[in-house]
């Protein structure tokens, strides 16, 4: 067949602007209406700006979610750093302050961005940050209150009663997270008084955050052995078992991510149970300061545990 030549330019998809979605763009520069605009072209210009604003919002949320992840990880590190009682209190206080900053800062901005949108459309963008935040918060909450925070309590922290009009008290932008200055609040659909601003927290995200918490509990358990707090070790082991039972009960009926996290959870649990075993059997005969070395050996054992992934 003779070769018909396509009239349009081949490999150009007009995709070059995608990716600069990080900054809040000035109100969409009204697409310059070309003189030869057909109705179809005009219509598609409208679609283009709709799609762009959706993608831009998505990208902004991804960035903010990453900020939340970074700060949450730092808080977790901080919480791991200390083990003696009086230092603990100091660290916990500092953590409380950083949580307030995070909640009043980046997380609040996310809530503001999402106001008036369907959160499920953008859940994939914010889910990693949200889970990391829940992991950090529940770890902190466990150290403070000796119990696991409930979903309603987390949601409570992510609800901003003042609406979006004034910033929450004591909410300076966290310097460590390196976040951009709070965006000017605009947008239709906001400003209904009485309706508090909130960052919706789906139950799945909460539970997935709890699954991540178990990794921190495991680390805490191992390090509590080396610092001689054997009580803590038994308690953490019991707690981990309870969480594990809960997840086994869910099995693979939940979202797919749970199955993956269950495998990790199982590894952590095995590690902790081995540590408890070592403590029981050999605890009497090994001097305290050597126990830590014993457990770094059991770490490896746990990591090669194949049946963990059933």
């Amino acid at each position: 067949m003779s070769s018909g030549r396509p009239r349009h330019r081949g490999g150009r998809h007009g995709n070059s602007r995608h990716g600069d979605g990080g900054e809040r763009r000035p109100p969409e520069p009204k697409p310059e209406p070309a003189a030869d605009d057909t109705p179809v072209t005009a219509m598609f210009r409208g679609f283009a700006s709709q799609l762009d604003s959706k993608h831009d919002l998505y990208e902004r949320l991804v960035k903010k979610s990453r900020d939340v992840t970074i700060e949450s990880k730092r808080i977790i590190f901080m919480l791991h750093r200390v083990t003696s009682e009086e230092q603990d209190r100091q660290v916990l206080e500092e953590a409380a302050g950083r949580f307030r900053q995070l909640e009043g800062g980046t997380l609040r901005q996310i809530a503001e961005e999402l106001a008036g949108h369907d959160p499920y459309l953008y859940l994939r963008a914010i889910s990693p940050g949200l889970q990391e935040y829940i992991e950090a918060l529940s770890f902190y909450h466990y150290l403070l209150n000796d119990r696991v925070i409930s979903c309603a309590e987390v949601q409570q922290r992510l609800t901003y009663p003042g609406g979006s009009a004034e910033p929450a008290s004591g909410a300076e932008p966290s310097t460590t997270a390196g976040e951009p200055p709070p965006p000017a609040e605009t947008g239709p659909g906001e400003g209904e008084v009485g309706d508090p601003l909130r960052l919706p927290l789906p139950y799945h995200e909460y539970v997935l955050g709890l699954a991540d918490l178990t990794g921190e509990l495991m680390r805490r358990c191992i390090s509590s052995v080396s610092s001689g707090q054997l009580e803590e070790c038994w308690r953490l082991c019991a707690l981990l078992r309870t969480i594990h039972e809960g997840f086994v009960n869910i099995g693979n009926t939940g979202p797919r991510e749970i199955t993956r996290k269950l495998a990790t959870l199982r590894q952590s649990l095995t590690k902790v149970e081995n540590a408890c075993y070592q403590l029981k059997v050999r605890g009497e005969e090994i001097p305290r300061h050597m126990l830590a070395d014993v457990f770094s050996a059991t770490d490896d054992y746990g990591a090669h545990d194949d049946y963990a992934a059933d």
Binding site: H8, A48, L51, P119, L121, D146, S150, V207, G246
Partner: protein, 227 residues
């Protein structure tokens, strides 16, 4: 122990939550299945425009297919009742495909009847859904666009068959239509997703139609009227 009590609550709540979600999803799924059934019927009806005698009978075929719109609307109304407010995108995957299919069917009907591009509003009206999320169950923009891209591949096939059936004028009009559509799509900044992949297909649909136009022109089969 205090902490395990609290934890068993957490997991009890979670399994209750998941049970609710599962049963809601099940209801949505069965509703979507009915919708798909009708959508398939409409698509099948419209396939007969490719037949030799179908091309002469386009208005009759369109009428017959449009007879199913009320059923479609009923299904969408029932479906939208099941979806909780502001959770459209939580369950979007269930009806995404069939909605794209319906956008295609509606756009094809509009094209066959008027040779115009169906607007998002026209498609939404035809299947009985809204455009703004304040008004309820919506037609997602990307689903509508996906429907238009299905239309382009259907039309490229239609062009070949209409030439076979002796209609030499149609390819010129379809080529015009598709090149406008393609110019429109090139204005969009598509992400590297499904829509983008289908958009890449539009090029080949257009190429196919232009080949037909070329064949007709070079053999002097182009009718005398204006193109």
């Amino acid at each position: 122990m205090d902490s395990s009590n609290n934890l068993s609550d957490v997991f009890l709540q979670y399994s209750a939550y998941m049970e609710d979600e599962q049963s809601l999803r099940e209801e949505i799924r069965s509703q979507v299945r009915e919708l798909e059934q009708t959508a398939r019927e409409m698509t099948t009806l419209l396939q007969s425009v490719h037949q030799q005698d179908g091309i002469q009978n386009i208005p009759a075929i369109c009428e017959k297919a449009k007879g199913l719109y009320p059923t479609i609307k009923e299904h969408y109304a029932a479906l939208s009742k099941k979806v909780p407010k502001d959770q459209y995108y939580r369950f979007h995957d269930h009806w995404r495909f069939v909605t794209q299919r319906m956008a295609f069917v509606a756009a094809l009907l509009v094209y066959l009847e008027t040779e115009q591009l169906a607007t998002q509003q026209m498609v939404a009206d035809a299947i009985g859904v809204a455009l703004n999320k304040e008004d309820g169950f919506i037609l997602d923009l990307e689903d509508y666009l996906a429907g238009l891209l299905m239309l382009s591949s259907e039309l490229s096939r239609f062009v070949v068959n209409s030439v076979t059936a002796g209609d030499y004028l149609r390819p010129f009009r379809v080529a015009q239509f598709l090149s406008e559509l393609s110019a429109g799509f090139r204005l969009l900044n598509l992400k590297n997703d499904n829509l983008r992949k289908r958009f890449d297909g539009l090029k080949y649909d257009l190429k196919k139609v232009e080949e037909v136009v070329y064949d007709l022109s070079i053999r002097g089969l182009k009718p005398k009227q204006e193109t």
